[in-house]
């Protein structure tokens, strides 16, 4: 129906995607909040004396403002300094997991959609199976059994479950793209399957992959914080989820040390909200019909 002309329009205005993105208000506001949080954490993290990260560097249980910005924990750590470590680590989990999931998913989706036949039959069932199972269940299982994984390992495990949804979308896109004229021309001119995928099809997928990447990013940070709160996170490193875990572990809620648990909670909420705005922005740009009102 009306789908084909819309896609053509997108393909033609492709060099304008970045321009369209920076014009989208949700994308820019979300992106700005996200970058600001990350940069402030990274820069102040670099300026802080590493010795101050140790337990006992500060008096215990200080409320915010009295000597430290966001107060201190029961172990004499500064909550603000913990945040400078936790935000980049949580973002790192999101980035690695989303990259692994998106690349893996794109690859599987390309192969499945492009080659079709038996390969497609098997991969399609795999995609559908992993789309329908609740991945958190398997993540809990694996994280619980591996015990004490680091930030990177955690990210890889989460990424290993993030491929089905990009795979399904890329597969559907390839199915519709491969019947189009320019792919036929490429095939007739003697390009092989891999070349067609990389040179002819890949460039058309960047927007979908972009939106997917942000989506996987959100899901990964979500998974990390959930696992960490259950006590299955990277126990030797600091992430936003681990901050909450330690706060709960020392019953910060019931000792009325509200700053300890509230700081990572609010940071997480801000992180999710900003990423979600970026996601909506991406969606609106790659699917102009969504833009009507909002």
């Amino acid at each position: 129906m009306a789908v084909a002309p819309v896609q053509d329009a997108i393909v033609e205005s492709r060099k304008g995607v970045l321009w369209e993105l920076q014009r989208n208000r949700k994308f820019t506001i979300g992106g700005a909040i996200f970058l600001a949080m990350l940069l402030i954490a990274l820069i102040s993290g670099m300026m802080i004396d590493p010795d101050l990260r140790k337990s006992g560097s500060f008096p215990q249980r200080l409320p915010p403002g009295e000597g430290t910005l966001f107060g201190t924990t029961s172990l004499g750590q500064s909550v603000a300094i913990q945040l400078t470590e936790a935000i980049p680590n949580s973002v790192q989990v999101g980035l690695i997991a989303a990259a692994v999931g998106t690349i893996l998913g794109a690859l599987i989706g390309f192969v499945s959609g492009y080659f079709g036949g038996k390969v497609d039959n098997v991969l399609r069932i795999l995609i559908d199976v992993f789309l329908s199972v609740p991945s958190l269940l398997f993540l809990i299982l694996i994280a619980a059994l591996l015990r004490g994984v680091g930030v990177t390992a955690m990210a890889l495990i989460i990424g290993a479950f993030a491929w089905p949804s990009p795979a399904r979308q890329v597969r559907a896109q390839v199915l519709s793209l491969k019947e189009r004229g320019f792919v036929q021309v490429a095939r007739l001119s003697g390009m092989n399957g891999m070349e067609i995928i990389l040179i002819e099809l890949m460039p058309h997928m960047f927007q979908w992959l972009g939106a997917n990447f942000v989506n996987a990013f959100i899901a990964a940070v979500l998974a990390e914080s959930g696992l960490s709160i259950l006590g299955l996170g990277p126990s030797r490193e600091m992430t936003l989820g681990m901050m909450i875990y330690w706060a709960l572990n020392y019953s910060a809620i019931f000792q009325n040390l509200w700053w300890w648990w509230l700081a990572p909670v609010i940071t997480l909420m801000a992180l999710f909200l900003s990423l979600y705005l970026v996601h909506i922005g991406f969606d609106e740009v790659s699917n102009p019909r969504l833009r009507t009102e909002g």
Binding site: F138, L141, L145, S176, I244, I253, L268
Partner: protein, 338 residues
């Protein structure tokens, strides 16, 4: 062949593949990790004062649970037992049957999640429809949009922490954990029911508010996209009352995708609130599975995961089977080239 039968056949294969692949993963992953599930039994025995030769007992118990045999033999016998409806015996809660343990946990999860899912779906859909329909005329009510956005993007367990702080610590109105007070005897009397409801309020609220945000946002955008449709404009031109257009025309058409969403989330009910159940020590399926994973209770892990997978896969299957019957626009293309 009848395309519908062919289509159902494909969905059935998918249903079986989902169960088979998930159970295979769940069977092998815990066994690849070094760890001694029997430790849980001995911890329990030591707690009640049992003192026997531990090493001999471990060997004996391993034989009893079949853990001395090669893994693939265990795997085959797992499917054989499952085909006869036997989920085995829990290791950590020896000698309780896995099926019995899961059955006693199921009502708590189903009760908590069914009620919250339905309430949030109805409330979210109705409010979303009204605010979406009114558009810019909705006035102050439009504030619901950013509020719903914040609620929806907040993970339910984060909301749970905030609720605990406000309503269990700052104003201790609701109890902190469990499904009913310690020492209360379960029964069909007012005191017990009130107690159960009081315990369910905070976990329920954490799930309800998050999903309310989602149903609200999706119904609102559905209504907005329907507002420009020809049949709506036509109805307006014919002078039909606005209220009737909203509920009889727009809302009715938006209900189809919204109901699909409901069916999907009903399928996810059994395993949907694992972290909330853990935070509130709510004795449902999620909490059971979490504890089983922690103590390497293979049979209980397998049984719990099977229950969740079957409910999710079955819900998906039923939606797929029903959808072409409800919505004639859907064609049967085996390849599902959506």
């Amino acid at each position: 062949m009848n395309p519908y039968i062919r289509y159902i056949g494909e969905r059935l294969i998918l249903l079986l593949a989902t169960i088979f692949i998930s159970m295979t993963v769940v069977f092998f992953v815990p066994r690849m990790v070094p760890g001694e599930p029997m430790n849980a039994i001995f911890a329990n025995m030591a707690a009640v004062g049992g003192s026997m030769n531990a090493q001999e007992m471990i060997v004996e118990y391993r034989v009893r649970f079949g853990l001395d045999r090669p893994v693939w033999v265990q795997y085959l016998s797992f499917w054989r037992e499952l085909a006869q409806g036997n989920l085995g015996i829990s290791i950590s809660n020896f000698p309780s049957e896995v099926s019995g343990m899961l059955l006693s946990a199921l009502p708590w999860t189903l009760g908590l999640l069914t009620v919250t899912t339905l309430i949030s779906w109805i409330a979210g859909s109705v409010i979303g429809a009204v605010i979406g329909w009114r558009g810019r005329k909705a006035g102050v009510a439009r504030l619901m949009v950013p509020v719903a956005l914040v609620l929806y993007t907040t993970p339910y367990y984060i909301l749970a922490l905030i609720l605990v702080f406000v309503f269990a610590f700052h104003w201790p109105i609701f109890p902190l954990s469990g499904a009913y007070s310690v020492g209360m005897r379960p029964g069909l009397n007012t005191a017990f029911i009130v107690d159960v409801v009081r315990h369910a309020v905070l976990p329920a609220l954490s799930i309800l508010l998050v999903s309310l945000g989602w149903w609200f946002l999706s119904m609102r955008s559905l209504i907005i996209s329907l507002k420009g449709e020809d049949y709506i404009l036509n109805a307006e031109a014919m002078g039909i009352k606005e209220r009737r257009i909203l509920w009889g025309y727009a809302f009715r058409n938006a209900l189809l995708p919204q109901t699909t969403g409901l069916a999907i989330s009903l399928g996810h009910i059994v395993g949907g609130a694992l972290i909330t159940e853990v935070i509130f020590a709510y004795p449902g399926i999620g909490y059971r599975i979490y504890n089983a994973i922690k103590s390497l209770d293979y049979p209980l892990i397998q049984g719990g995961v099977l229950l969740i997978i079957i409910s999710v896969a079955l819900a998906n299957f039923l939606i797929d089977a029903a959808y072409p019957l409800i919505d004639p626009r859907i064609r049967f293309e085996g390849s599902g080239g959506s």
